[in-house]
């Protein structure tokens, strides 16, 4: 069980990183001018959604870290549900990495290609870890 607990804690740490990076996306991708051109209410919705996503990922991480031994041990009704929900969540996100984003955003740019694959493999690994926790 120790290895699954470690995998879950790694997923928690990774989600903290994504939460922090996600809250800086307009600056990281130099979208500030594009965001500034949005109508006011849409711009507010964009920022609120961005903060909610980061905040929610942060709480996923905290709960995963705090309850990793319970999740890894299995047999807990809510633990299996939580792990199963996050497996579905990251599985969907993994599929979206290919199905929703155009490859034109990264193809031919080594740096962006590396980020694309790192995100895809990371999301996939988290989905597998949570699915393993949900399955026993």
């Amino acid at each position: 069980m120790m290895s699954l607990e470690f995998a879950l804690k790694s997923a928690a740490a990774g989600q903290v990183v994504i939460a922090v990076l996600g809250s800086c996306i307009p600056r990281l991708l130099d979208w500030r001018e594009d965001v500034a051109r949005m109508p006011l209410l849409v711009r507010e919705v964009f920022f609120i959604h961005m903060w909610f996503v980061s905040f929610t990922l942060g709480i996923f991480a905290v709960l995963t870290w705090r309850f990793a031994p319970v999740l890894a041990a299995g047999g807990n009704e809510l633990g299996r549900w939580f792990a199963g929900a996050l497996a579905v969540f990251w599985g969907v996100r993994c599929v979206m990495q290919w199905a929703h984003y155009s490859s034109s955003h990264w193809r031919g740019n080594p740096g962006r290609t590396a980020i694309h694959w790192a995100l895809f493999l990371g999301y996939g690994a988290w989905a597998v870890a949570y699915a393993a926790a949900a399955g026993h």
Binding site: D34, V42, F55, F67, N76, L78, F89, S102, H105
Partner: protein
């Protein structure tokens, strides 16, 4: 003060239905705010990210709704993980309530009685959900 376990379980199930109801109201937002037109001038990647955020939040609220409907008893019993999950949901709806009060100025969009009723119903739902899940996270059990 404690709440009768059966009553608490019933309240949790009602909260689950309420959260799924909020999703129905949320589905109207892109049309009411005409997101398609507003987002059209943006770079494609930024436009896609906007929709990814929306899907993420819909998935999260769907998860809350299903959790509270199908695991109402476990949430009401108050084991540590149940309190942790309830605390998470409480903070989520509490933050949404703060946004309702302090960030969005919806008045220009509340152009008829139905929209005003919907807006105030949503506000009441955010208050009720924050209180209920706060109780589930921190409240005593009999």
């Amino acid at each position: 003060m404690t709440i009768d376990p059966k009553t608490l379980e019933l309240l949790v199930r009602a909260a689950g239905a309420g959260q799924l109801g909020i999703l129905v109201a949320s589905a109207l937002v892109p049309r009411v705010l005409d997101w398609r037109t507003a987002l059209a001038p943006l770079p494609p990647q930024l436009r896609r990210l906007f929709w990814v955020y929306g899907v993420f939040i819909v998935l999260t609220i769907t998860g809350f709704g299903l959790l509270t409907i199908f695991h109402a008893r476990a949430l009401a019993e108050g084991e540590p993980l149940a309190r942790g999950l309830a605390g998470f949901i409480c903070v989520f709806w509490g933050a949404r309530l703060m946004v309702q009060f302090f960030v969005f100025d919806a008045r220009p969009f509340l152009t008829n009685a139905w929209l005003r009723l919907g807006y105030h119903t949503l506000t009441a739902a955010f208050v009720a959900l924050s209180l209920l899940f706060g109780w589930l996270a921190l409240g005593p059990r009999g």
